[in-house]
Symmetry: C2
Subunit: 456 residues, 2 copies
């Protein structure tokens, strides 16, 4: 707000006009607190009387609400705004039962544990940790991550190899841009896989190419024939088929990467949630030179923390860190340090254990319910993660089933939604169980069974 | 860790070898806590005795430290690692007096206020705020930001127009990529300006072109002649010359943008710290259709929070939000909500006021000290921000002065360091005062004066 001391209009009148215009155009919104007359006068370099007079005039005109011994507020009506103000429509979820497979149950997030860890981080952090820092992330956090990943996931990582990122999406954005800048043209994705990742590749100038998947994971023979510059895989629990990459395939995949000098991007996205089997180690632990490893807290804690980590092969490390630097200057430090405290106190593993027990129970209930309500459907991909794949009876039209389910206010996606290439899949539904409370599972499955029979 | 039930080697022996290898190769680092024998046995699907035996053997060999009623630790020596482990060298600041101009004094950061705001955010946030959300950021945070920016900075913004970002660096990374994808080729930068931003443009495929600056800010006549597709400006306090964009230039700049259909990227980087003048309003408030406005807490709170906001012109809004979505899926939500609490409680403005008083005092002390120790040098750009520009006597060699200053363990940068084009500037130093405590200023300036006279 600039007042002009040279024009004829008195300062108090100039100020009155300026504030009124701001209210009318919506720059000052209804309910906003204005500065005290003393503060505003000091800020503008005018006498306090000028501001008091302007406020009084605006109060009389109904633009401001004046209060004894309190700062004025912009009146609730706010005058008639001269420019139409955009209305923000909240998205109202219209479903009753939600089989979304890509999100965890955020109500399990241990808010108290996170607050305690954050408080410890904030108290203990030296001032240097508040400043611009290493784009890889806080050294203390990377140390703790290196230990955790080595111990729990068999990842070979020194703190220097780790870059903290804002979740998987940023890891691939940086990785794809780096690949494109190095001359790469095509990146392979499991087919089916998560559709948003393909677009990230396209935006970086890479062509996403489909690589078929079967119940042993990605088809490495096909990968070798198609021969992209890099491939994104979910070996611990393929999304969305739920398959686990078979041991022979793991070796074959890494052999291809070594022969070709290609990069394997390992999305270790729900490795923490395995229920029946021996935990599967990471590809990265077998071949750190050809695997870019990515993990996050999006499934174990909460997606909105936007906190993940990469372990980058030595030959790409400097360029990856540069990519992170120019992408956003590094991830927020206090969140990283809070995570480090959560790891070192043992609270992280406690949280994961607690969540795993809940999800396991839901999965078992889901399998029971599917067994009684949809005995004609096979269920696969049950060993881990937050979803299963429900194979529909031969000849089913999965789109019709999804439509019938939506009619019954179920939210569910068909396997075909995740198709990248031209291959046709047998009809199936991707059923997440993180969004269903334990008692909701049986009624949800009964509704689903009704939708399946209505569509056939 | 996968055990093979079919081979001849007993499981306990396989486990012992696997753990020992992990310690030797550095995957398990000294001091790391292993799982309890019960947990590990359950995880591997073996009897507990198998794990106890393996742990005992490794304890006897010195690889593990076994403790009564507590989980085993990897021994401090950790065996001799078979692969050389990278050593992380902490950067030891080697200067005594630091005139760095691009960072605030992070020791002023109100940790207690931030913790309180974070706690409020964490308690009040509905579960939906923990989930994947709107890539623009939490609606509550954008509402509060819209109010604050309208009231304090004269920005015209609805919550729908705001996208929360990870600081200025991410704002321009997203903005530049969007421009490049729309066919833009060249982006103008003030010359001199902050060097890292030029590289962000190059990485997005844009050519950074220099636009001269004088004591009234960017030369709009030159801008019109050079005619880039977009321009980045620091109108409130040009970095590093410290000039404030003159009113006539402001109008001319926006006229050019409107005539050309060009985008003005407004870096409002230290607008909160103005000491003598009437606060300058934003360009965005004058022409929301052609200005992409960017603000952050990097100077007012702490850079490591990586928290900023953009107000995007309507015609670019959808593409900007998409850019943010594919860049990282959105900024961390709890931090945004903490900031919203800091704003609504009035604590943010209190923090800024407190910091402003400290910086103002330091600036005054710096000006006094420069007046007595370097009376032959003119000081400009003093009205705002965290730095001033010290013009060296005609004929000075600024590189020689910087070298002499470094010899005296001062950290200082020359104006020429920020030169983008071929224009030559009069010799000058960029003197930040945020990194100097009040009592350090006079001795720092005496050292600087000695360096100046040594170099002449």
């Amino acid at each position: 707000m600039a007042l002009d001391r040279d024009v004829r209009t008195p300062l108090r009148r100039q100020l009155e006009i300026a504030i009124r215009d701001a209210i009318r155009t919506g720059r000052l919104r209804p309910g906003v607190r204005l500065p005290s007359s003393r503060d505003l006068a000091r800020g503008l370099g005018v006498s306090r009387g000028v501001v008091v007079d302007a406020y009084d005039a605006l109060g009389a005109q109904g633009f401001l609400v004046l209060r004894d011994r309190a700062v004025p507020l912009v009146a609730p009506s706010g005058g008639m705004p001269a420019v139409a103000r955009e209305v923000e429509e909240p998205v109202v979820p219209s479903c009753i039962f939600d089989f979304t497979a890509t999100t965890p149950d955020v109500s399990l997030f241990g808010r108290r544990a996170w607050l305690r860890a954050f408080e410890q981080a904030l108290r203990a952090a030296p001032d240097a940790d508040l400043d611009y820092g290493d784009p890889r992330g806080a050294l203390d956090a990377r140390r703790v991550l290196a230990d955790y990943l080595g111990r729990v996931r068999g990842v070979v990582a020194s703190p220097a190899a780790i870059t903290v990122v804002q979740g998987f999406s940023q890891a691939i954005d940086i990785g794809f841009r780096l690949l494109a800048a190095s001359g790469a043209r095509r990146v392979g994705f499991e087919d089916p896989s998560l559709d948003e990742q393909w677009e990230t590749a396209r935006r970086a100038g890479l062509q996403p190419v489909p690589i078929p998947v079967d119940m042993d994971g990605i088809r490495v023979d096909e990968l070798r024939a198609i021969d992209p510059d890099a491939v994104v895989v979910t070996p611990a629990h393929q999304f969305p088929t739920g398959s686990v990459l078979a041991p022979a395939r793991r070796r074959a995949l890494l052999d291809w990467a070594a022969d070709r000098g290609a990069l394997v991007i390992e999305d270790d996205y729900d490795a923490e949630f395995r229920y029946d089997r021996t935990p599967v180690g990471t590809l990265q632990g077998l071949d750190p030179a050809h695997v870019l490893y990515v993990g996050t807290v999006s499934k174990t804690l909460a997606p909105s923390l936007r906190l993940g980590w990469t372990v980058v092969p030595p030959r790409l490390r400097d360029r990856f860190v540069e990519g992170k630097l120019y992408a956003d200057g590094g991830s927020p430090t206090l969140d990283q340090l809070a995570l480090a405290h959560l790891f070192t106190s043992g609270a992280y593993e406690q949280e994961v254990r607690r969540a795993r027990a809940v999800y396991r129970k839901r999965r078992d209930t889901l399998l029971d319910a599917l067994g009684s309500s949809l005995p004609e459907c096979r269920v696969v991909g049950i060993a881990a993660g937050l979803h299963v794949l429900l194979r529909l009876p031969p000849g089913s039209d999965e789109a019709a089933v999804v439509a019938a389910a939506e009619g019954r206010r179920l939210r569910v996606r068909a396997l075909g939604d995740f198709r990248l290439g031209d291959a046709s899949f047998d009809a199936a539904l991707v059923l997440g169980y993180a969004r269903l409370s334990q008692p909701a599972i049986a009624p949800a499955v009964r509704e689903l069974a009704a939708a399946v029979s209505a569509a056939s």
